[in-house]
Point group: C2
Chain length 241, copies 2
């Protein structure tokens, strides 16, 4: 399993991903699920991935290869982020369809992706790309996208993320959301990666990596747990009459 | 969808269920998912249900009919709650198997149940009964069982429910868990039912019903939201360096 979140704010983007991959319960390994690309200085694109590792590795590799081979259609040539999402979606869905005959056996080649970033002259955006290749973006009311194990970490995003939320606040919230998910699902695990993209900078170098014992992650987990316990103690009590 | 929780504590049981049923998004209705039975004064049994409404109505009706017809095997004759869970599981799984031929069409007759209560001479207990008829009970480490849409409401149970938690505290926590679930999944909805069973009383009359605008439910939701916002404001902030 996996958990990734992309938050699209007035000030830019906050992207978060875990790094645990498993093929069965006894085959667990660590892979980054956050990919950046050598794009030109006028664009910054980041891919987050959930699902079948063979599929997502293939897509990331193919995207890089198309850039290197300067194919007419690659992440550097498309003028709009939604066109780039279409292009990524085509690579993804055609790779999945190759395995259509094997699916009866329980084999699941599906993957879901998030493509986020900015192309000069356009606003920053995030797209969730489904295994079928179609995609959705965020809205004012729902300024975030999740892939993978999304339910445990959703309530905290719904409560605190608004378009005007600051990048630092959103990163804090994304880490709380990620930590709640790790507590409830052992197939989501560290290191946690966070990438903060400030709009119009075309700079994706603000990338942070939190291993399991990172002091900030531990401090945040402890503080959140304590405050929640306090909050629960202060709740109006159920009255049995 | 549905959300039900059974919490088994040192002092007794706290059972909670929502009341929304839907067959497709345009056919939504209200049905209680909490059933009590006319058992003898030495036993108290409660059933919570999630899944196909036709299946769960059949099971509840069959359990009542077996009591009324004084069948040799009914909820009043079995000496152990685990035997009662076996008996309920047999009725459930055989009803589901009747439809085995239709499942290819996407029709889902499955249901999952919780049987909770106490039989004189034995401790109070709760069992989660799977569509296959097998069942699990709680443990010291996991003193609760959930059926239906369980993920949104699980973190709060994990944080605050311990075997020594009081019945009133557990009922408060169950309502927060239920409210979090209702916020995130529209197919879980009021009225919310809560039944508090104090051990060795053999009294299941402490049953409460909270409609959407119930003052306590609104007060609890508001207080929890405010305290969480406060907590979030006090979190150590992500440092971009």
């Amino acid at each position: 399993m996996t958990y990734c979140v992309a938050i699209s704010l007035d000030d830019g983007l906050v992207l978060t991903s875990d790094s645990r991959t498993n093929a069965g319960i006894d085959q667990v390994s660590t892979y980054s699920k956050m990919f950046t690309f050598e794009t030109d200085p006028n664009r910054s694109l980041v891919l987050l991935s959930a699902g079948n590792l063979a599929t997502t590795q293939y897509v990331a590799e193919q995207l890089k290869r198309d850039i290197r081979e300067t194919q007419p259609r690659n992440l550097n040539t498309l003028s709009y982020l939604s066109d780039a999402a279409d292009y990524v979606g085509e690579i993804l869905s055609s790779r999945i369809r190759r395995h259509a005959d094997n699916e009866a056996s329980g084999f699941a080649p599906e993957a879901t992706l998030i493509l986020a970033g900015q192309i000069h002259g356009n606003p920053h955006q995030a797209f969730l790309i489904y295994p079928q290749g179609n995609h959705i973006t965020t809205s004012q009311e729902t300024p975030y996208l999740q892939i993978g194990e999304s339910k445990y970490g959703k309530p905290v995003l719904d409560r605190f993320i608004r378009p005007h939320t600051s990048l630092a606040d959103a990163a804090t919230c994304a880490l709380i959301s990620m930590d709640s998910t790790m507590q409830s699902n052992v197939s989501v695990g560290p290191p946690i990666e966070v990438l903060i993209y400030r709009k119009d900078t075309f700079d994706v170098s603000k990338r942070y990596r939190f291993h399991a014992e990172h002091p900030y992650l531990i401090e945040l987990r402890k503080a959140w747990g304590e405050r929640l316990r306090q909050a629960f103690c202060e709740m109006p009590r159920f009255n049995e009459q």
